[in-house]
């Protein structure tokens, strides 16, 4: 029933979209996400899905088409990367503000200038506060699984928010890996039928989307949006439980790897977490207590749960595959620091910026970071809170 294959991340996302069978897909191609839409439009042409493809003239238009179609009452999906995501930015807020359950695959890629087609998290982090739910994936399997769960999550009646699913550009999007498909029928039943809420096309019950709301009620609207977001983690966990029943694979808000009894830990997202786990095992073999926390649900960020999972540690390194310019730390570091600040006893926290524009994250980088954490536990000295690693001198 569950077929093992060798597939890349783009193929995984395209197939999850095929199974979800969206009513409408508005898209514009961009490296490294192009292959998602290339594969998906093939499904459309071959009649594997009943989706109406809108090949737009830009990503701004692609997202606008998605918004219109979702408001009209259809299941909607798309995919993008980097500059494409940046060009959508204005419309991302419209999608979330209107509570439209659009699902978007994202092959994370660096932003220009200088132009660079390779993987980092600048695009996703730039869209951090746009009111979308963010899920991040370590490998092609997780890209497939998270994309399937994303439809159920976005369309859940307690949520009705757009979801983006991020995987590392090229590293995951283009690397062929062993993964397991879930058969179409089981996966489609898991996602379920699309239920529209207040569709524009229901002419017997006319509704208005995007009205003007001024100072009298704008703040109440925003508070309501925040309230809905705060309920998302519970739904994420409920859906993960249901998903485990059809797949045998467990998902949480984040993954904890050998963290329970650890003294030091690395926090890192996406593909770099896999490489880090290999190195953690090597340290564990020497009896050194190292662990890892890999965020999966990045927005809304599960601050309380992450704080509980990390508070017992002596030192933690947060690895960011994006930087915030302006003298600040990386975006993930800022979240982890917020999660830990209110604990009287908390780990020493350091920040490493790595892997920008596709710079490889190698096993010796993980080793370097772990050794620094171990040194901090011995002498308490932090040489610098933030550092770029893997940089050519």
């Amino acid at each position: 029933m569950h077929r093992k294959v060798a597939a890349n991340g783009n193929e995984a996302i395209a197939n999850a979209m095929r199974i979800a069978n969206p009513d409408v897909c508005g898209a514009y191609p961009i490296t490294p996400a192009t292959e998602i839409m290339q594969r998906f439009t093939t499904f459309v042409s071959n009649g594997k899905v009943k989706t109406e493809m809108v090949l737009a003239e830009s990503e701004h238009s692609a997202m606008s088409a998605c918004i219109g179609a979702a408001a009209a009452g259809g299941r909607v999906a798309t995919a993008t990367s980097s500059q494409g995501m940046a060009l959508m930015w204005e419309m991302l807020f419209i999608a979330s503000g209107l509570r439209l359950p659009i699902v978007m695959g994202m092959a994370n890629r660096a932003l220009s200038a200088p132009i660079n087609i390779h993987g980092d998290h600048s695009d996703g982090m730039g869209a951090r506060d746009c009111g979308w739910i963010h899920l991040y994936c370590e490998n092609a399997q997780e890209a497939f699984d998270n994309m399937l769960m994303a439809f159920k999550l976005a369309e859940h009646m307690d949520v009705r928010l757009p979801v983006m699913v991020g995987m590392d550009g090229f590293i995951t999007s283009h690397a062929i890996q062993t993964m397991e498909w879930i058969d179409d029928e089981t996966a489609a039943n898991f996602i379920g039928e699309y239920k529209s809420t207040n569709p524009l096309l229901d002419i017997k019950n006319p509704v208005s989307y995007g009205p003007l709301i001024l100072a009298d009620l704008y703040m109440e609207y925003r508070k309501a949006q925040e309230h809905v977001m705060s309920g998302v983690p519970k739904v994420v966990l409920d859906i993960a439980k249901e998903f485990e029943q059809i797949s045998g694979r467990k998902y949480g808000l984040f993954e904890e790897y050998r963290l329970d009894d650890a003294e030091v830990a690395i926090v890192v997202m996406s593909s770099a977490a896999g490489t880090t786990k290999e190195i953690i095992d090597q340290f564990r073999e020497k009896g050194i207590k190292v662990g890892l926390l890999k965020p999966r649900l990045f927005r809304p960020f599960p601050y309380a749960e992450v704080g509980e999972a990390l508070k017992h540690l002596k030192a933690v390194a947060v690895l960011d595959r994006a930087d915030c310019f302006g003298g600040s730390h990386g975006p993930l570091y800022v979240d982890i620091a917020s999660a830990l600040y209110n604990y009287a006893q908390r780990p020493v926290l350091i920040n490493k910026i790595f892997g920008l524009g596709g710079r490889d994250y190698m096993p010796d980088h993980a080793e370097y970071v772990i050794n620094e954490l171990l040194q901090i536990t011995k002498d308490g000295k932090v040489k610098s809170v933030k550092e770029y690693i893997g940089v050519r001198e």
Binding site: F170, A175, I176
Partner: protein, 191 residues
């Protein structure tokens, strides 16, 4: 051979190196193995040097970075031997498979290979011209790699070449590639 095998391919754009890495990974899936196949994406131009990688293991593969210490190095284009250090990071028990009409002993000397390292050659370009009618050495090298790695049978490799090439090419080209794979397996020389 090790339970965890890492392979590095050196080729030039347009020689089908990336396809070869994918086909080999696919063929290794049988028996529940975990596989990876991924190229290094640079400026994609015909003739530009490129690298591609495989990892094949009984365990889940969690490393997501280039292969630094390959058990097998496959050189798709022998002109790269003069411009690139194809032996970078190789362990003492590594094997080299080089597309060349030369005697493997000659290339062993050129590479300064250690006695514990194995050096193989196969005239993949000539075999490709004979079988496919085009100098596309990739299928022949999949055959040679099948022999040297010992991971899969030649039948498995041939059936995967058929499956992978079947999506894109005419029956004549597919048959040629299957034959090239078989000849690569049979004609690879150790020295």
């Amino acid at each position: 051979m090790a339970e965890n095998m890492e392979i590095r391919w050196h080729g030039r754009g347009g020689q089908g190196t990336v396809t070869a890495a994918k086909v080999f990974a696919d063929a290794c899936l049988s028996g529940g193995r975990h596989v990876q196949a991924f190229p290094e994406y640079g400026p994609e131009r015909a003739g530009a040097p490129l690298r591609a990688f495989n990892r094949i293991s009984d365990r889940e593969l969690r490393l997501h970075c280039p292969v630094m210490n390959p058990n097998i190095v496959v050189v798709v284009d022998a002109t790269l031997l003069d411009s690139i250090d194809i032996a970078a990071g190789v362990p003492d028990d590594a094997a080299f498979i080089i597309n060349s009409s030369k005697d493997p002993k000659e290339l062993r000397a050129k590479l300064h290979a250690k006695p514990s390292q194995r050096v193989f050659t196969v005239d993949a370009t000539k075999i490709a011209v004979d079988t496919i009618g085009r100098p596309m050495p990739n299928a022949t090298l999949v055959g040679a790699l099948t022999k040297v790695s010992g991971l899969i049978t030649i039948e498995a490799a041939m059936s995967d070449v058929e499956k992978s090439f079947g999506k894109k090419f005419s029956r004549k080209i597919i048959e040629g590639n299957i034959e090239a794979t078989k000849r690569g397996y049979e004609e690879v020389l150790e020295g």
